[in-house]
Symmetry: D4
Subunit: 252 residues, 8 copies
């Protein structure tokens, strides 16, 4: 006969330090290797699975936040209903369970347009969960360059920048020409026709004429956030003043 | 904690002259910079948001029309129900609120086939809202070249041409060989197989053997309309006779 | 037997008003149809052919300039040696024979970087030959946005803009956000890796977040120039002051 | 040891009726299967190999013409020097050895521009060698549509049309809208930027809005000629008058 | 105000001989130009529109069949209910109204697999409506080459072949190597992964190593049928015996 | 009239040894040619058709298993309800009817992540049905390389490896560097943005720096399984100990 | 100062068991890990470097052959002059130094056309060096299917097949439909236009309708050979009769 | 007349603080804006131009190094001959003029294979010129994963990693799974067939399954170096011990 008994004893497993939930195997050793928190990629998982994985990871790491990304509306609802302590962000499509680490360094997340907001929000949440402070600068797309120039000095006053843009994805080039801060470009899938799927934006950022622009996959706010938080944490820690997080909110 | 308080005082904003509706920040200074009217890109916005933005823009600019494009059927219904003065075009998927400016110059919008109609209509509405007169010439695709030849003299009698075509997108080349009027090609996503998404049409127009053809993104009737209206307005103003607009209607 | 007797009497010819040089058939009626001067696309032609075609066109149109583009270094040399009256531009790879028309209107050709110079030069020469005035604005790429802001008011003071950029091709978006002048973007093949051949630049310009950007094929300074000259000529003619042409030179 | 003795006795061979020249295996049975003459694809072959293969094929088929295509300038020279009876066409890059068959039916080869000439010539030679009559119609690109309209009635008076065009490749669509004759589109690699390699032209022809356009690979004048000759031969044979071939020459 | 009055008197129309139904303009002169019947491309049209157009075309051409393709299931139902005389084919997604012309010549439609059936059926119906006889040969994909070899002699006994294949699209190459009959390849969108949308099949057919294969767009059974019927009609008419049509049915 | 009578007597059929079910023709001779079992590709077939084909194939081959792949949830339900003896796997989307052959040789199916599970499961089922033993090794993606190193010796102890990965598809390269066992890479469509559809994974595997990696189409677990089973069966048969199958289950 | 001292003591090195020649680091442990011989990828290396690396590898492994692939004509000359014992193959562009292993199992390398010969030859040499017997079957492209059918029984009599084809790459599908032997498809870069670089062939093979076709990168005869040799060696060893190698030559 | 007087007085210039050399305009204010040194992109410049620009930049910034990249062999020779103090690296294709800054922080440049060496070298030189320490780790490609595991602890002991790989570009994923250090992936153009130009590598890195991988354009060692140096400099400065630079050399 031909059966599929998931993870019966004796089956080959890549590593001992994993928790098996039947539907998913949870690697609980990642933090030890990389220093980063545990993260659930929610795409394709049921609301019940997301809740169960968050609970499991939180139990394994009670002292720090765990993060779920790319949650469906149903999963966001289910997390909010089942996990009262979770911080659910419906724009970012994320949920956070457990205490946020104290912020070290500051990342500014710069977004071109309103439609880029969900990706910027995913980056911002990721940055905070990964231990850096975060502040957002929205609606500064290159088609209204005065808006960007008005905040140029604050762009320079960060340990890392995450710059989010769809359509032609030109914003990282302009920002990188203004300041020498480490900068990650995040192309978004905002666009249509020849730009559908973010192709124009990702090519634009890879071919930036401004030196030092590095890029992640389309809509990958999470990946940009991980890199930026690592960079900011390693820079000299900030003074004790309130670190602004989220979309402009001051963290006490 | 991790919150997202949109646009609380003290948050970084790119520019002071914007109105924040929570879901969107409305740039009300664009007209001052470019002379163009305010426009709402409706894709991805709820019917309620569209109505609210149109109202806000109209209040800020009571003396001129504001335009919403790419509206869903639901948004078109909601605008029609809530804004009695709005001019809703279900083919163009647009809504206009406020008095149209007097037309200066004339743009002819030439379309290859019936399926290209919505894009041509979006261009036509955009042109009128941006201050030029407009007239449409439909169903003159290259597979029946006699139809085009029959109207050739009227093509020459315009200040700018917008030429809309899907499939192989050959119409702009033929028209540009007939007349020396400034001409914008608009590829549409009408097609299938290797032409799906408008790829064949946009490549065709970019590689036109006729000199002077300029191109916009697939289905971007709005962008073509903005350029054409600017060109026509700058040309010598027309005489006082009735300017034909829309699909052949005479504007009083 | 199987011979190829080019253009023997009785062979089908598309049109009577053409001059046959054996290697090429010269259409001498284009001007009547479109009002534009005659142009030779020099790519793939021998130096001798280029000279012969220029002479033929000049003889047919002694009252106005004829233009040759995309000339090889050898063709440029041969034209300079054989046609003493020709104006040869080695950067633009062009040659002009015959008196330039009086300039009507003004086009500014804006270029991002030094490497984009040849394409900008081809556009500038084309514009002058097609009857408009031209002025160049160089080295204002988006990676040094202050350079662009310093000349913003002069950008607004033109009848049409041609904006040339390679790499990520972001410059047209920024310029189009600053001014409402009709604007043609010209992507160049300056780039490497994922941007080789100008793909990133042309996608960037087609997907511009700034309304009204129209685009031509990669490196097609000639096509952009034809469109821009038509637009500028149709706008209200300039006053009698000196019109700046070329790279900043004042035409008497 | 490891040797490569080509075609030693006892080696596996796909078919007995082939002649092995060491460098190439010549299939001499193709004519029996398909009724078409033997053809050498010259690309990548040395001048000496081309001559040897032509001699071998001619010896095997002394009663009919054999054809070599895609010959280098050196191969064309060598064939002309070694095979006095060969008909060498330097534009088409072909050589023909042996008597041409009597022409049955008529194919017209229509070309958009001068640069498309070599591909049109390859098609024309192929058609004659494959037994149909041929006549060329040159320089009727869509940017000067009057030239095409002037010959429209002669387009209808053919058994098959081969329509050759580079750049945006629009000519087959226009021709197919004029007449109901079977029509093969041949995209050429004439183009640059986004059209480099013929991509725009081949997509254009595959997506023609005119029904019945069929397409071959870029620059494949030979393939189009094979199909067209088969179609024309099967149609009712022409009267005994002189059949025009090549570029307008009358075959006795 | 801004209205869109479709086709009011005085509006520009490409040609007088068209019937306007509001939603569509029906070109009723195509038959005069090309000799082909009138055809409705049903994609994107409502069931009511399809019925109305068929009725209009049938009234204009009562003596011959008119064809509708790419009909939705709803449109097929509506045609069957409203037009009792229509011949509706749910696999081919077509409807035919009016008497079929007497068949001249014979086209064989060869299909690789069961999934290619709808495209083969569309080609077969198109061929009959366009005046040629048709016979289908199914399930002879190259992965079971013996099936194809078993019918090889019947492939040679046709005036034209239409060869339909998805996945790697190899069937036209094999068939074209067996017989010298004019052959049209039709790639289908049957496939997944790197072959999704028919890309592998269309490239395969364009690059066939067998001479004379011509190709249409993905899933374009209609286009292949138009070309094939023209070819077959022009060949010598068949004897008076019953001509097999459809999937093997003998037409009386 | 125009009918489509499927498979009436006298219609051309590629081969006598096929069973026609109206909707599908079942080739029952494949096993004789290739030694492989009969397989139904379920995509696009109705639940009823799948059941009928499985019954027909099972009746024709009562002594061995027949396989259905790519079944919809509805088809899986219908098979489970109608064919009590069928072994239905909802993750693999497969159904097996008939006795599995005795396993010869061993294939290990190695998967990078949880999301690659369905493709790995399809491969595993296919392998068993095609006569080889199978064992799975899950969750050993390259981002946690220690998990892979922990099972390296077991990778070497197989007759063939099937390595399944989405996203960047790097796993086959790493595994192929560890062991000299024949290895088939299976890219999956797990990914987004520039990796959507599996493009990054398939390119990665085709360009592996480790020698000997061979690749199948995206998500083609079935194709990889067929090849791997053939390789494993031909290798020296295993000893009589229990052969592990499925996801770690021991087959008696 | 900034120097680059390659491989000075103390520099980080990935592994102790490597020999450093300054220009290259030679991994001499690969054989221990995978059982395969050492191979030099000659592309980009000077003739002198190739000779030095071959000598070094031969000294480290005196008991078995080492292989160099992708050698330039100059490198082939230099190897022939400097290494008298090397077996140089100018078609395959390979050199072999050291005694070939006794052949186990048999791989047949099947090639579609003459132009595919170099890739087939590289595969054949690789197979012999990797310990399997090899025999070539040439000129059996699908456009002359009778040639392939004539050798079908010999295709079935192999332990593995390597099938090499350019253009549309259809040969593996046909072969895989004939026999159940493990089969590796090798697309070649033979082609032009839309097939340039082998794109059509590699897509064709990945999308084969015949089950079990696995594929390597374009022109990667070496990779296919490594896989095929592993498969053949693991199958039951052949009898003691002469094993045919190369292009049909019998190895003593 | 039509002249091009480059940079005559009165011409529009983007910015006052530039030095014009006729062939190039040198922006000498970049350092003030971004803190980075001046860099010459040598591609397309003559040897004489490179020398002149280096001299000009060095004169403007005598206290710090200036860098030239992408130098041709002729330019490298000319710089070495004319600028005795320049540090010329023929592998990296760079030249450095002026004193290197004291290194702050440490970047390790990890390369997969020998062919990736030039890109890794360009990154290493860039990093040192931009003020960080650098150490290279070579020949640790994923096909010999033991080599990478042997140096894993040293990878963790860096402030930033630059990971260079061609072919399938898998190395960044594996490294990012081992350590939590900020990591920049650099795809190289090493590859052929479907990987030509670095497409497979850049897609692989953008789609990495390991979080936090950021990417630059193909072969852009310079861009990666700029980002990495900024990251490393901002991290806590290293102790006074010798910082290893270049390919393992200790800087005093």
């Amino acid at each position: 006969m031909l059966h599929h008994a998931p993870d019966t004893p004796g089956a080959l497993q890549g590593e001992a330090r994993a928790v098996d939930l039947g539907h998913s195997r949870i690697d609980v050793d990642r933090r030890a290797r990389t220093g980063d928190p545990e993260v659930v990629f929610g795409s394709g998982k049921t609301p019940e699975q997301v809740v169960e994985i968050l609970r499991t990871l939180h139990a394994a790491h009670p002292d720090t936040a765990v993060l779920a990304t790319r949650l469906s509306p149903e999963a966001l609802d289910h997390v909010a209903a089942e996990l009262a302590d979770a911080d659910v962000d419906r724009v970012a499509r994320t949920a956070v369970l457990g205490a946020l680490p104290a912020p070290r360094g500051l990342v500014r997340v710069v977004a071109a347009g309103t439609s880029d907001g969900p990706v910027a929000a995913e980056a911002a949440v990721t940055i905070r969960v990964h231990g850096a402070g975060v502040e957002r600068v929205d609606d500064v797309g290159v088609a209204g360059i005065h808006r960007l120039m008005a905040v140029a000095d604050r762009l320079a006053d960060a340990d890392c920048l995450v710059v989010v843009a769809g359509m032609e994805g030109a914003l990282p080039s302009v920002v990188a020409g203004l300041v020498g801060v480490p900068l990650v470009g995040v192309p978004t899938s905002v666009g249509y026709g020849t730009g559908a799927g973010g192709l124009a934006a990702v090519l634009s950022m890879l071919n930036s004429c401004a030196p030092g622009v590095v890029v992640v996959n389309v809509d990958n706010g999470y990946g940009a956030g991980v890199h930026a938080a690592r960079v900011a944490r390693a820079a000299a820690p900030r003074e004790a003043g309130p670190v602004v997080t989220g979309r402009g909110e001051a963290s006490p």
